[in-house]
């Protein structure tokens, strides 16, 4: 999709959004604007506030402060108009396992008042798109996790929404299925004029978005295209394994004025033109080096840069929250 077909009006417009649960500030002052027709990624670790933001945008939860407009309608005062304009795939499954795939879609079509004359064709179309048309009369109970996810995406599209919200559409799926789901998303853009708002905590997936917002502890810490975010770092990431990591960190500071830290068990630092730096490293570090890896900046580095932890470490160290874990368990 080229820039010219993007409408002038923002598909999602959020101003000063705050959501407080008793003790937790789940969303802590978010501003953002999603252009019509773009795929917008919302990237952050567990408990960052992604799902809460989506629930506010789809009128399921009231914001504590701030305002949001979706498809031109206010989520607080024009609830029904918002609901008519959006498609939703929640993080937790919302299918009826005792109904067939087609019956789940039919139910959805009736709830959304989809014109009966086009409903059958539309159901076939969306089922075809996610490759489930042959299985349409099977009970959803008998579907694998990936098939259910695909069916939910098909259902979210059934009523031709202007904005599609996908909350972790690929959670718990194998890499192949994840790839195919992203393929549907890009396919969508070829076929329909639709804005996609997607959350994920997989960095690789965020690369598929036109723009991404990195959210951490309820705040947006960066927002741009993946390329611009990476370019903004301007440095490569170097990871080394040494005989004495603590000494290596001190040596890097003393001899090269580089701030290094342990990430995923390796001494990690950022430096411009990493490949050219490696020979100097061997020459001057004075500590035995067992292995070296130089990487172009990834979104993970962007995340590291803005939040001070790597995404994976943030998750492992667990700002783990039982709430999110419990709700995902369903």
């Amino acid at each position: 999709m080229d820039g010219s077909s993007m409408g002038a009006e923002a598909a999602v417009e959020v101003r000063g959004l705050v959501k407080r649960f008793k003790a937790v500030e789940a969303v802590n002052g978010i501003d953002l604007s999603v252009r019509t027709g773009e795929t917008f990624g919302f990237l952050g670790p567990n408990g960052a506030g992604k799902s809460t933001t989506i629930k506010i945008l789809c009128t399921l939860v009231d914001a504590t402060e701030g305002s949001a407009r979706v498809a031109g309608f206010d989520v607080a005062t024009e609830r029904d108009a918002v609901r008519r304009s959006i498609g939703l795939v929640f993080q937790e499954p919302t299918l009826d396992g005792y109904l067939s795939a087609d019956q789940n879609l039919r139910f959805h079509g009736e709830l959304y008042g989809v014109d009966r004359s086009t409903a059958v064709a539309r159901r076939k179309e969306v089922l075809d798109m996610v490759g489930l048309y042959e299985r349409k009369d099977d009970l959803v109970q008998t579907f694998s996790g990936g098939m259910r996810r695909r069916l939910e995406i098909a259902r979210g599209l059934l009523h031709s929404p202007k904005v599609l919200f996908l909350d972790e559409p690929t959670i718990g799926l194998d890499p192949q299925t994840r790839a195919s789901i992203w393929q549907y998303i890009s396919e969508l853009h070829r076929r329909e004029e639709i804005t996609v708002f997607v959350t994920t905590h997989y960095m690789e997936e965020a690369e598929n978005c036109d723009r991404i917002a990195i959210i951490d502890q309820g705040k947006i810490v960066a927002l741009d295209t993946p390329a611009a975010l990476k370019a903004g770092i301007g440095k490569d990431r170097v990871q080394i394994a040494t005989a004495d990591d603590a000494a290596a960190i001190v040596a890097l500071k003393d001899r090269f004025e580089l701030e290094a830290r342990m990430v995923e068990g390796l001494v990690t630092f950022s430096v411009a033109d990493g490949a050219a730096f490696v020979p100097h490293l061997f020459e001057k570090l004075g500590i035995a080096i067992r292995s070296v890896a130089v990487n172009r900046p990834s979104l993970d580095d962007v995340f590291l840069n803005f939040t001070g932890t790597s995404l994976r470490d943030a998750e492992a160290k667990g700002r783990f929250n039982p709430m999110a874990a419990a709700s995902r368990g369903r």
């Binding site: 077909s5 789809c58 009128t59 399921l60 029904d80 609901r83 008519r84 304009s85 939703l88 929640f90 937790e92 499954p93 919302t94 299918l95 009826d96 396992g97 005792y98 109904l99 019956q103 039919r106 139910f107 959805h108 009736e110 709830l111 959304y112 008042g113 989809v114 014109d115 086009t118 409903a119 064709a121 539309r122 179309e125 059934l158 009523h159 031709s160 070829r190 076929r191 329909e192 004029e193 369903r330």
Partner: protein, 285 residues
């Protein structure tokens, strides 16, 4: 866009027709799930049949002296009919707890339609399923001395439908408060069993101790069961004395509540419960 976008659909503006479609599809879902689960019919009529033939048969000999020659089973029959819909309807309502647990409730609540339409569909579904089940008990009428009278059968089905609707709405009210699947069933048992025992389904409302009279008259189930008994008794040959004992009607002091008003009480109770459920569900997500 030049790309062929086939079957593009438009979500309509709010309208009554749209709400009706939503209600109907929620109803339809209940019917599909019912039809997929024939074991449910069998298991939920076992208890009423036990009451009718085992309890009724056992106590029959004991109480025959006091029934003025009326078969105790004929007396019990209307109450057992009510029982046969009671639990099914209550479970249909409380099943919202499972819908919440498995996420489907969210699919319904986030759609651009009113909560009323969804819950109304649920009540109609619960009432339909329960009424269909009661047919299993109804066909046994002949065995307990109740004639197969078509108008009577139709009146009974209509009354049972209404009763089930009210009880499903009650189940929905409970479901709005219960968040855990494990506590749903015990809660239904806890609420429905006393409603049944205090309704005159299993014993006549005449000659009750004072406190029991008060409680039974406050129980909406009483007003749902009594018309069922009145309809059955109208077809039995029965002495006025026996009738006065077994089917004394409902009295508010010295005022005998007519059947149409009893039905009215049930309709109003159902409406209040449905309204309460709508309010509670709107607030809980």
């Amino acid at each position: 866009m030049t790309q062929a976008t086939i079957a593009r659909v438009v979500v309509p503006k709010p309208s009554l027709a749209h709400e009706v479609r939503a209600t109907l599809v929620v109803w339809e879902r209940e019917m599909i799930r019912f039809q997929r689960d024939p074991a449910r019919v069998v298991s939920s009529v076992v208890q009423p049949l036990l009451f009718l033939f085992v309890l009724g048969g056992g106590l029959g000999a004991l109480v025959q002296a006091g029934t003025g020659g009326v078969d105790f089973l004929s007396f019990l029959f209307p109450g057992v009919l009510a029982m046969s819909v009671l639990f099914t309807a209550a479970f249909a309502g409380i099943s919202m707890v499972w819908d919440r647990e498995f996420g489907f409730l969210r699919e319904m609540l986030v759609a651009p339609i009113s909560t009323t339409s969804i819950l109304l569909g649920k009540c109609l579904g619960g009432a339909s399923v329960a009424t269909i089940q009661s047919v299993v008990v109804l066909v046994l009428a002949g065995l307990v001395g109740v004639p197969y009278d078509i108008p009577m059968m139709l009146e009974l089905l209509a009354l049972l439908f209404l009763m089930s609707f009210m009880i499903t709405a009650l189940g929905l009210v409970l479901a709005s408060r219960v968040k855990q699947v494990q506590s749903a069933m015990p809660l239904v048992q806890m609420i429905i069993t006393p409603l049944m025992f205090l309704s005159g389904a299993l014993f006549p409302l005449s000659r009750l101790p004072g406190w029991l009279t008060v409680v039974t008259h406050l129980n909406p189930m009483t007003y749902a069961v009594e018309p069922v008994r009145a309809v059955v008794f109208a077809r039995l040959t029965i002495s006025p004395e026996a009738r006065a004992i077994l089917d004394p009607g409902i009295w508010w002091g010295s005022y005998q509540v007519p059947v149409w008003m009893q039905v009215g009480v049930v309709i109003v109770s159902a409406a209040i419960l449905l309204f309460a459920a709508v309010k509670l569900f709107a607030r809980t997500e």
